[in-house]
Every structure is written in structure tokens, then in C-alpha cells.
Symmetry: C2
Subunit: 325 residues, 2 copies
């Protein structure tokens, strides 16, 4: 949520000049992305009718290695009519260029706004869009391992330490140990795999009314269980932000929306309660780590880890298994 | 350089609905302004042809009291064909509305980018635009005292302390004491007064090539000496950012550009070396204060106070007085 790389008007105009998008009209640094610098760019357009783009300069080394996967995936999905932004290639055909020693990509701008309290209709539209993403990526030729799987959650929790977790909530260390054990032991290796978004929260979905106009921020995308992506999206869309209130109507709509495009198999459905616990653990792990390692006076908003401890408690409760039936 | 107030798509759409600008299409939090939250907003436009705006939510109490002055000034100058953004009034005619207990204004979006290394032609265009601003505001009926005048610089330097200033540069406390004395004693109360921008740095000017397409960020605007505004703008446009290198061609162009629209009087010209020292002290004061009071690990860029100590040394050197002759 910051602009780390400073680029003046001259540098931006020079960079934009390598793309067939017309002349630079405007550039505003935007507060999106945790670790990248982003600008909303306006140009005269390659046809002179005006066009907008997102310019991203990648700051984190981990993401740079994945760029051919991330940017290639956007092009692949856009060609399949998924509502994802296309990468604009430069005049030499490259999907990204270097600026100040960092890779920079020019990405199509999509309309829409992120909702804060999704309606069931919106959750249903997101479920369907996720299934289209899964189907659209079936013949995408690249693979990328999930760099935030159960082994990494364990590492993050270990780095928090028992006392660190205890400082967030006295019961947290015990809960985490039990649930990590349960989830790791029950991990269903045989379910259908493919490219997953892995982070489809409301702020990564652009909507116009009840329609999904854009799926964005694919920088956690990887190859993993499709049903795990359904579980992540469920945890992201079917609760209030704090995780206090489960929205049964949004849950039913999201699952029905997904099923209407790609029917979940019986084994996938049976695994969903466990995978939703796993998804809760994944966000609990990163949030707890960030909570304990971000100075309280830093100008970034620390996200409450307990919002996902509450989801975890909900999903791990056998009485709730019926919501996925 | 952050978005402090969190507004979801629903809240933004509700707010935009109070203005005759069509339906919300897109909203991106932008990294502009030090103490406000800003969004670049796209709507269908009141005529359905699409329109863009800057939505600002004011966080700082000092700015809120000045809003009728700041927003009224924009409307006044825009009516005089100055390239400033117009305030969009809501359906009830108000220049700002309250959202989450804070004032929010919808302001016209202007094209252009901020340059980093101005050419003489660009400096000349800015000089002329500044003079047009001064002339355009002559019949603006409101007044606002300068809340960052010599008395406040003294307060800021005192808050830094001799040891604080000494930690930035061993000679700084002595220089500041001497120059504050000189500038306060010589302050020319009799020069022409009017509305000044008071902060016309390159990042507050939008340009398309050599043309000024927008003057923005009027939140330091006040009633003060017009020649002081020329001095601030000179200090802002005629050096490299670090203040090491003076650009004589940009300086001559800026002054000629200003003179071509509003001729500086002889007394104003004579006062410029002193006023440019004063302008350097003003930015040295706020930068030194911020330097000493911003945690080094905060996610904001601290600006080097010495960049203005160098300008101060330049302007205070009698050998340089000729640049304003």
C-alpha cells in the first residue's frame, strides 16, 4: 500500500514510449499491492481515443521469479474471456521491461470497485468467476508450486513462537498446533489440481453491481487443489471481515455459482470443511506473523489475525460440516 | 502518501450518488497528499460520456477549518481560466460533504504529469502560471493567514533543538539562528499582498510537454506577499532536488515567465534574495522537524533538510544577488 519506486513524469513517459499505447497523459501512484509500486496511467491510446493501464513495478524478489507465470496466466485467461487484465507487451513483444533495475509491467485497466459487504448475488457471481478461472487455466502450460502451503504455515507459526501467539490470544498456540496436525494428516492429495488464484478476497475482485468485472492480483497464483481455492474464496466472502458472523446465504450462493460452471466432485465436497480450516490457518499464519513483526506505529494497517482464528473455529466445528454438503 | 480512511465500494457509490456525476465505475486509492485520503474516481459522467474526479477525505483538523477558503479559491480561479481543478458541488450545492465524520470533496481531475527535472521552458510556463494565479485571485473575497510564516519557522526550529539540528549538520543551528534573525529583521511588510499558493513544487504542477495543465494541492494557500510566492517557486524549480546545482537558465525563464504576465515591481525584485532565503528557511524548518520526528523505519520518505540548507547558503550569498536583478 505504497509507492516504493519514485518515477518522475520524464521516466514514466520514457517507459510508456516503449509500448504502442500513445502518449502519456496522466500517472497517479495508487495505494494497491502490499509489496509493489503501482500507477494508474492514462494515455492517448494506440488509436488516439484514450486508454488506461496499471503500471506495476515489482519490488519483491520472490515475485520477480514468478513473472512469466503470473503475466502469462493473465494473457491465457484473458484469451479465454475470463475477466482478468491483459498484459500489454512492449514493441519488442516482451511482457515486462526493466526500469531502475526492477521489472515493470503495463497491465490493462479494468472497471469496477471492490465491495466490502458482498450480497449473496455478488458471492454467487464470484463463485462462477472462480470456476471459469479454473476451467480457463486447464490448458495453461506453466506450473508454479504454492509457496504458502502447510509447510510454510508451520514455519510462520514457529517464527511467531508460542509466546507471540499467546500475546494475540491465550488459546491460540494450542489451537494452531492441534489444527495444523489435523489438516496436515488429512490433506487430500488426490483431488483435482490446476491453477488457483489462492487469494480471491473482495479487494481482489472488481464488481459493477452484481457482475464481476475483474479478477486481479494474481501474485499468489500457483498450482494446487482446485477445491482449496474454493475454500479460500469461501472464507473470504462468507463472513464479515472480523469473522464473527457467517453469511449462510452468501455461502450457498457462492457454492451454487461455482457448481453452475464446474461441478465439484463428491470427494472435493467432502474435503471442503477440512480445506476451509486449512485456508483459515493459511491466513491466520501470515496475519499472526505480520501482526507480531510490524511496528505498531508503521503506516500500514495490521490485519487482525483473530478474524481467521474465528473462521477456523467455525469450520472445525463438526456441526457446521453441512454447509458444504 | 497513504489512504487513511477505508471506504468500500458501497460507501463510495453512496457518496458519489450525492453528486450529479453519473454512476461509479472505478475508484483507486492514490498515494498523494501527506495527510489526506485520496481516490481517483471514474464515473459514467453526468452526460454518460465518462468522467474522472479526485475524491479527497480530509483527515487533518487544520485543513478542515480552511476548506471554504481552499475550495472557494479553486472555483474562483477556475472561473478565471486558471488551470486549477474545479470543485464539484453536490446536488444541494455544498462544496463538501461529511463521510465517516470527515469532510469529503469531489474535485475535477486534470491531465498532466509532474516533472522531476524541469527544463527552462517548463520553468517559464510555471512562472507565467503563478502570475496568472496571483492576478486571478485579486478579487477573491476570502483571506487566510499564513500558518507557516517566520514565527512558525522559529517555533519549529526551537522544537528541533540545537542538538537536533546539530545531529543533521554540525553548523545548522548557527546558520538557522543567524538567518532567522536576518530574515525577520528585513521582512518587507510593504510589498504587494494577495493569495499565494505557497507550495508550488514540481509535484504540485501537472504538465503536458511544456504546458501547465494543472496547479494542484492548494492546502497551504494563504494571503501573503506575492513576491514570497515567487521566491518559494524559484527555490522549488531552479535547483536539483538535493539543492547542489543551481539552474541559471531555469531561473531566468521562471522570472521572465512571471514578468510576462505580472511585472514584478522594483521593490519586489530587490527583496527577492531575502525572500528566497526566507523560503529556504521555511522548507528547512518543516523538513528538519519531520526528519527528527519521523521514525526512521516509518513507511514514509523523509525529505533531506539539507537540500534547503544548501539553497539557503546559495541565496544568502551576496555574490548571487544578481540572479534576481
Amino acid at each position: 500500500m505504497a509507492v516504493y519506486t519514485q518515477l518522475g513524469g520524464e521516466a514514466l513517459a520514457e517507459l510508456i514510449g516503449h509500448f504502442d499505447v500513445g502518449a502519456l497523459i496522466s500517472a497517479k501512484g495508487i495505494a494497491e499491492g502490499v509489496s509493489n509500486s503501482n500507477w494508474l496511467i492514462e494515455t492517448t491510446g494506440h488509436d488516439g481515443h484514450g486508454a488506461r493501464y496499471i503500471l506495476t513495478v515489482y519490488e519483491a524478489r520472490t515475485e520477480i521469479a514468478g513473472l512469466p507465470f503470473f503475466l502469462g496466466l493473465l494473457d491465457h485467461l484473458a484469451a479465454k474471456r475470463c475477466p482478468v487484465p491483459r498484459t500489454v507487451h512492449d514493441r519488442a513483444g516482451a511482457a515486462f521491461r526493466m526500469v531502475r533495475g526492477k521489472p515493470a509491467a503495463l497491465i490493462e485497466f479494468l472497471p469496477g470497485v471492490s465491495v466490502e459487504s458482498p450480497t449473496p448475488a455478488q458471492a454467487g457471481a464470484v463463485g462462477a468467476a472462480l470456476a471459469r478461472l479454473h476451467l480457463g487455466a486447464r490448458d495453461f502450460p506453466q506450473n508454479r508450486a504454492n509457496s504458502l502451503g502447510p509447510a510454510q504455515w508451520r514455519t510462520l507459526f514457529t517464527a511467531c513462537g508460542e509466546s507471540g501467539l499467546g500475546s494475540i490470544d491465550p488459546a491460540l498456540a494450542g489451537t494452531v498446533a492441534r489444527q495444523l496436525e489435523r489438516v496436515t494428516a488429512a490433506w487430500p492429495a488426490e483431488l483435482p489440481r490446476g491453477v488457483i488464484h489462492a487469494d480471491l478476497f473482495p479487494d481482489n475482485v472488481l464488481m459493477l453491481g452484481d457482475e464481476v468485472s475483474g479478477l486481479i492480483d494474481f501474485y499468489f497464483a500457483c498450482t494446487d487443489l482446485l477445491a482449496y481455492d474454493v475454500a479460500v474464496t469461501h472464507a473470504a466472502w462468507c463472513f464479515d471481515a472480523a469473522g464473527h458472523r457467517f453469511d449462510a446465504a452468501a455461502s450457498a450462493a457462492l457454492l451454487a455459482g461455482y457448481d453452475s460452471v464446474r461441478a465439484l466432485g463428491a470427494a472435493e465436497r467432502a474435503a471442503l470443511p477440512m480445506l476451509a480450516s486449512a485456508a483459515s490457518l493459511r491466513f491466520l499464519a501470515t496475519r499472526a506473523y505480520d501482526w507480531l513483526h510490524t511496528p505498531a506505529d508503521a503506516l500500514v494497517t495490521r490485519k487482525d489475525p483473530l478474524a481467521f482464528a474465528r473462521r477456523l473455529a467455525f469450520y472445525a466445528d463438526p456441526a457446521q460440516a453441512g454447509i458444504f454438503a
